[in-house]
Amino acid sequence: MSTTPLWEVFVRSRRGLSHVHVGSLHAADAEMALRNARDVYTRRGEGVSIWVAPSSEIWASTPDEKDPFFDPNADKVYRHPTFYTLPEEVRQM
């Protein structure tokens, strides 16, 4: 049965983190999508906040566009912060 629209689900696992896409599901409307998401994706304490968005409202880059989209960035090393020397005290950056 596929009478209800598809929704994309985003879950924030802890305060301070951002919402991460976890999957999709079917639901009649946004309220039901939130409830379904609660049951499908946060049963084991995975989240403190849920977003749902209609899949039809998500615009995605296509694999065909991969080259013009991403390749030109690969050879521009000056865009990457790799020329700084990090003090030893800074363990992670």
């Binding site: 599901l25 009649a28 409307d29 309220e31 409830r35």
Partner: protein, 260 residues
């Protein structure tokens, strides 16, 4: 029996019966809902209904375990769930009603969860530590179960002609089974007087108001009460219950103590 603080204690029999009544309601509804596993209209709903079943099963386990402890006859939760016969179960008739179509399941859930939510909200302040604990944990679960059933009721009642027709049929069919939820006999009255139990008759008006609001918003009609089905609390059950028990208890009776 007189407790240390000079308050007369309810008899162990009464406390055991009360725990069994609450526990059996949860157990039998959990069993009914679990029948939806792999059969719900959508996989999302399959998970939602079985989640609710698991919540109720968790409540049932604590309550039956407690009933066994209070009874002090060496019966544990499994003995009580799997080895009692039909006449020894004291759940209401509502929870044993067959699933029917999805509308029936939702309406049964709406009626029961509204009752259980009101009950647990009161039972939180029970003087009995275990009952208060079950209620404190269960009140959040019941609130979600009620919300779930309410959302579906609004959508199906105020949905298509077909969904409206099915919902109204379910409301009419299940309405006679709701009165029993609020019956109080000596067990509840004695325990309630001591601050241990909730007298369910005190929950009736809150329940009626909540249900009538939801049904009206869902464009459904609140039925007139013509007759009421009763007897579950005394161990007298409807025909559907025997089949439920046979399925629920078969494995344990065929392979006593089986684990997996």
């Amino acid at each position: 029996m007189i407790a240390g603080n000079d308050r007369p204690m309810a008899s162990a029999d009464q406390l055991c019966t009360y725990a069994l009544r609450l526990g059996d309601d949860a157990l039998i509804l959990a069993q009914r809902l679990s029948e939806w596993a792999s059969r719900a209209p959508e996989i999302e709903e399959d998970i939602a209904l079985t989640n609710i079943a698991l919540d109720l099963l968790g409540q049932a386990r604590e309550l039956l375990d407690y009933a066994g402890t209070v009874e002090n006859a060496g019966r544990d939760e499994d003995d009580l769930a799997y080895l009692r016969v039909e006449r020894e179960f004291v759940n209401t008739h509502l929870v044993e009603q067959e699933n029917g179509d999805f509308a029936h399941t939702i309406v049964r859930q709406l009626f029961f969860s509204a009752y259980q939510l009101a009950l647990y909200e009161e039972l939180i302040s029970s003087r009995d530590e275990l009952l208060a604990g079950v209620a404190a944990k269960g009140v959040k679960e019941a609130a979600y179960h009620h919300d779930h059933a309410m959302q579906w009721t609004l959508r199906l009642g105020d949905g298509t002609d077909e969904s409206h027709r099915r919902m109204q049929a379910a409301v009419d069919r299940l309405w006679p089974y709701t009165a029993e939820l609020f019956d109080a006999d000596d067990v509840e009255k004695t325990l309630a007087a001591q601050g241990i139990a909730v007298d369910p008759s005190t929950l009736k008006s809150r329940w009626s108001q909540a249900i009538s609001e939801v049904l009206t918003s869902a464009t459904l009609t609140v039925p007139e009460t013509v007759w009421s089905s009763r007897g579950g609390r005394r161990g007298v059950h409807t025909e559907a219950f025997g089949y439920l028990l046979a399925e629920m208890q078969y494995l344990h009776r065929a392979h006593p103590g089986a684990e997996w």
